[in-house]
Amino acid sequence: MKQQSKLELIVGMFMIVGIAAVVYLALRIGAGTLVGGDTYELQARFSNTGGLNPGSNVVISGVPVGRVEAITLNTTDFSSVVRLRLRKDLKLPTDSIASIKTSGLIGDKFLALSPGADDEVLAPGALITNTESTVDLESLISRFAFGDVKDKPAAAATPSAETPPATPATSTAPVTQ
């Protein structure tokens, strides 16, 4: 009798450990959250983030170092602001470049960081403005292949007033979760 309850206890503990492992893996692999490591957040401003999604990989030299947490629209200048979560041990120079790349021709989009050479590093929450947006490949190909039907403008336009700065924390509305 005593031996049977001991066996049940071991089986129960085994089940609990198994469930915990499954939950951990689900969070780690599926949800895009880096559980268990120190992380910090950065933001990056793009004119176009088409195809990039929350959970997309952030890589440096092809090595995953974080995830895209959220993508929001700046309703002032209609730019796209991406929130990234990176490993805390990464110290990125302020002149680092964030580019949206594609795995192959039609693969998933990911965000590639190219560290710069500045002595100063990006503080948590800082905004990366040196960015390369998604390249509209279809539009480019069609323009090179078939030409452009747009008429030439009659005269150079005059630049108007400056667009106010991006203030992602207060003036953005989420477009994707």
């Binding site: 190219s114 710069g116 452009d148 150079a156 400056e162 667009t163 700065p165």
Partner: protein
């Protein structure tokens, strides 16, 4: 398809870079106004039918005045820049400037004068009021290209530190080429690569 190799095949785009990548000058005036003046200056040089000296020679003083060449070179080389000696940095800035000017100037093909439209200047980051992005479109030979100039205020002048054509950054483009060279052979390999590139591009 590699966009970085696609672009150089089109002289129009090269001309756009040549025009666009030429500088801004400003003294306390707005960045966008000085960009227009600088572009006009470059266009005048590019379409000067009486000029006998090569375009790259003619535009160099304007580029040196309006571009922040040290920052551009440093950022184009990337993290390896910190391992360059002072002499290597000086040599790299000179060589990189020559390579960039000659690359784009040699591809310039005089045709119809391009039409340029300027958009609203943008302050990309409220925490960095000295930065501006100046969007524009260049229409040449029936094709329209989106060109964004990134400029930074230093004192009372604005200087270009990057040009983005159809979403492709000039600095990112060069960094993707120079950083691997540095990783393989260090600063000397970068300088040798720039020297070799320059030797392959005669003055036109």
């Amino acid at each position: 398809m590699n966009l970085r190799t696609l672009f150089p095949n089109y002289a129009v785009v090269a001309a756009a870079v040549s025009i666009a990548s030429l500088p801004i000058q400003a003294r306390a005036a707005e960045a966008s106004e000085t960009l227009r003046a600088a572009v006009d200056e470059v266009l005048a040089l590019a379409y000067d039918a009486k000029a006998t000296t090569p375009l790259s020679v003619r535009v160099r003083p304007v580029v040196e005045k309006q571009f922040n060449l040290e920052i551009i070179t440093r950022r184009a080389i990337g993290p390896g820049w910190k391992q360059f000696t002072a002499e290597q940095k000086t040599a790299a800035i000179q060589l990189f400037t020559d390579v960039v000017i000659r690359t784009y100037a040699n591809r310039f093909e005089p045709g119809d004068r391009p039409v340029i439209n300027y958009g609203k200047p943008v302050i990309p980051d409220a925490a960095k009021p000295a930065l501006r992005e100046l969007p524009s479109t260049i229409t040449a030979a029936g094709k329209t290209f989106a060109v964004v100039y990134r400029v930074e205020q230093a004192g009372d002048s604005w200087r270009i530190y990057d040009v983005i054509i159809e979403g492709v950054s000039m600095i990112a483009n060069w960094r993707s080429q120079l950083d691997p060279i540095f990783q393989k052979g260090g600063a000397n390999a970068v300088i040798e690569a720039l020297q070799k590139n320059l030797a392959q591009q005669p003055l036109k």
